[in-house]
Amino acid sequence: MKHTIAVIVNNRPGVLSRVSNLFSRRAFNIESLAVGPTQDESVSRITLVAKGDDAVLEQIIKQLYKLIDVIRVYDLPAASSVERELSLIKVAANAANRSEIMQVVDIFRGRIVNVSEDSMIIELTGDEGKITGIERLLAKFGIKELVRTGKVAISRGGGEG
């Protein structure tokens, strides 16, 4: 089972390696990891997607709290949070299939951010399913390169997390 976890950490050098080190040391599986600043410049937010049952999730959260630089840990269930990922996809494109690709991008509400003679770069934001969906549809044109940011998430409603 996948869990999305937000980890609020002191914005100090080495903190990211403390967190990732913990995951490898305890043999927890990370599927994605995204890190960035927050509204408070003294802290950063790491969003992790980890695999495991509830007992594993509990251990991950408790072990994270043992790191001195970890301030808060939030478990973010999909049903009560907004999750997004950004993806840039460089797809092979020529005059013949360009409009077909543009249609696909339109349906997914993506954007074309660069066009060259033999390729296009598509920017797409969405949840995991949406990004996987467009990947599948674009595959037949030939995906030359693809990059995903890893998931970020925030809880719905006015509460923390």
């Binding site: 002191n10 080495g14 080190n21 913990l22 072990q63 709290y65 043992k66 001195i68 301030i71």
Partner: protein, 557 residues
């Protein structure tokens, strides 16, 4: 007052109550050693290998309850501390390791004697620091000591680049620290404590399983009250030895892989297991699914991550063991104990006592029994790792906390002698005995020099069987007696080695001389004594639960 970073380090250490550090100089700590040259308030003990410094700090910490401090230079000096830091980490021992680092301008350039020691020690420290400016140094030291000694204690490393040791600072030691993200829970939840009290009152077959946390928390008195008030038998882990007097009728000795039969049977039969400051290590539980199958489990621990890590717990209580136990004791009813349960345990005790076959060879168990007699049960016993460690745990009756120092979690051969050095410095008036094997003692034998130079009257009892005995035992039982690389009978003459170091040394080859030699060693008070006991070569540690078996599935002889 303007002083250098190196001087600020020493001033800060003194503010933390440090009066002794164990260390070894080198290029990147020259300014610190220069400051130590005139320092009156801190005694520096020169070891002969940095690993010895880390273990000495650990032995000092375990035996006194204070934070132990070690100091080493950058690169190899720092990496030589690693085993000692990992040892302290696994057993929750508060040490502060200070390392020099190459100058800030040289970091990241693969400079001479550069090692990323904060990166290397991340998984084996509670926290670590690379000091970036001299201004932050005092606060870092204050935080380091606070983190090392509070909550679940552990090692903290501070890496100080050489240029920062030279830089001037207007020194002022901070009065308080702000660590928003570090707030250990000390008070157990009152509702959980009352649940636990109720569970204890209805249990027919309760059992206490006490670990090192009882000793760290200073909760031996509270443990004794709980056990005697409710008439609850007590088994301890290796690190819990001394938390409860083993001379008491309720004491069951150690449980687990080399635990007593009656302790392990009690675990498997009990209907309530009260785990206190213990972490359900695999050497304790054996096959985890088959551990304590009939028991509800109360688990008291200051580290929330220990709850539910290895076993499912019925009543978890996160908090300081001493605080939780004192509340729990007041709520537990005084009981005689279930007669059938106590009777059953006593029957096991009579039927399956710890025993070994006596003959005219020197049995290592006999040596440990004689050490117990010769020290009147009042010594600080330090062990190495392997058979010597298990026999020490089985045959010495520990009655007081902080008298059994052993590398339990990491199982570090070579721990004993340097840890004994640290313990003797922390307890100058006590008898300190290192129970060693001929394999382990050679892993840090250079610390004999430290003991000799400082006139430490440590008694080193080598149970010399010419084997890496515990590994040989596994090879005998589990690998068809194929003694691959475990015969070390080609050892050097340990008596001559010890004498070369300036220690007193004795060899005992006859059983009748065991006690005589021990008494002779006890009378020496100005230098260490090494006694080389030629013990029965292929003696095994029993009971023995092969790894992965349930703990009542024991080989007893």
């Amino acid at each position: 007052m303007e002083i250098t970073g190196a001087q600020a380090l020493l001033e800060s250490l003194k503010k933390e109550g440090v009066d002794i550090i164990f260390g070894y100089p080198g290029g990147s700590v020259l300014p610190i050693y220069d400051a130590l040259y005139n320092e009156k308030g801190i005694r520096h003990i020169l070891v002969r290998h940095e690993q010895g410094a880390a273990h000495a700090a650990d032995g000092y910490a375990r035996s006194t309850g204070k934070v132990g401090v070690c100091l080493a230079t950058s690169g190899p000096g720092a990496t030589n501390l690693v085993t000692g830091i990992a040892t302290a980490s696994m057993d929750s021992i508060p040490i502060v390791a200070i390392t020099g680092q190459v100058g800030t301008a040289y970091i990241g350039r693969d400079s001479f004697q550069e090692a990323d020691i904060t990166g290397i020690t991340m998984p084996i420290t509670k926290h670590n620091y690379l000091v970036k400016t001299v201004e932050e140094l005092p606060m870092i030291i204050k935080e380091a000591f606070h983190i090392a000694r509070t909550g679940r204690p552990g090692p903290v490393l501070i890496d100080i680049p050489k240029d920062i040791q030279f830089k001037k600072i207007d020194f002022k030691y901070p009065d308080k620290i702000e660590l928003a993200s570090y707030k250990p829970t000390y008070e157990g939840h009152p509702r959980q404590i009352s649940h636990a009290a109720k569970a204890i009152s209805v249990a027919k077959k309760p059992l206490i399983y006490a670990g090192g946390g009882v000793i760290i928390s200073g909760a031996s008195k509270e443990l004794f009250e709980l056990a005697t008030k409710g008439n609850i038998p007590v088994t301890t882990t290796l690190l819990g030895k001394g938390a409860f007097p083993e001379t008491h009728p309720l004491a069951l000795g150690m449980l687990g892989m080399h635990g007593t039969v009656y302790a392990n049977y009690s675990v498997q039969e009990c209907d309530l297991l009260i785990a206190i400051g213990a972490r359900f290590d695999d050497r304790v539980t054996g096959h985890i699914e088959k551990f304590a199958p009939n028991a509800r489990i109360i688990h008291i621990d200051i580290d929330p991550a220990e709850i539910g890590k290895n076993v499912r717990v019925t009543i978890p209580i996160v908090g300081d063991v001493k605080k939780v136990l004192s509340k729990l004791v007041s709520q537990v009813q005084a009981k005689d104990g279930d007669a059938a349960w106590i009777g059953q345990i006593n029957e096991w005790k009579n039927k399956y006592p710890l025993s070994y076959k006596k003959n005219d060879t020197i049995k290592p168990q006999y040596v440990v029994e004689q050490i117990y007699e010769a020290t009147k049960g009042d010594a600080i016993i330090v062990t190495e790792v392997g058979q010597n460690q298990m026999w020490a745990a089985q045959y010495y009756k520990f009655t007081k906390p902080r008298t059994m120092l052993s590398s339990g979690g990491l199982g570090t051969m070579g721990y004993g002698l340097p840890a004994a050095v640290g313990a003797q410095f922390g307890n100058p008036d006590k008898t300190v005995v290192d129970i060693a094997g001929d394999g382990s003692i050679q892993m840090n034998i250079q610390e004999l020099t430290t003991a000799v130079n400082n006139k430490l009257p440590i008694k080193i009892c080598v149970l010399n069987n010419g084997y890496l005995g515990m590994v040989r035992q596994w090879q005998e039982i589990l690998h068809g007696r194929r003694y691959s690389q475990t015969d070390i009978a080609n050892n050097p003459d340990l008596v001559r080695v010890a004498e070369a170091y300036g220690a007193k040394a004795l060899r005992v080859i006859k059983i009748d001389d065991v006690r005589k030699a021990l008494d002779e060693a006890m009378a020496v008070n100005d230098r260490p004594t090494l006694i080389d006991f030629a013990v029965a070569r292929e003696e095994n540690v029993f009971p023995f639960v092969p790894a992965g078996q349930a703990i009542n599935e024991m080989i007893v002889d």
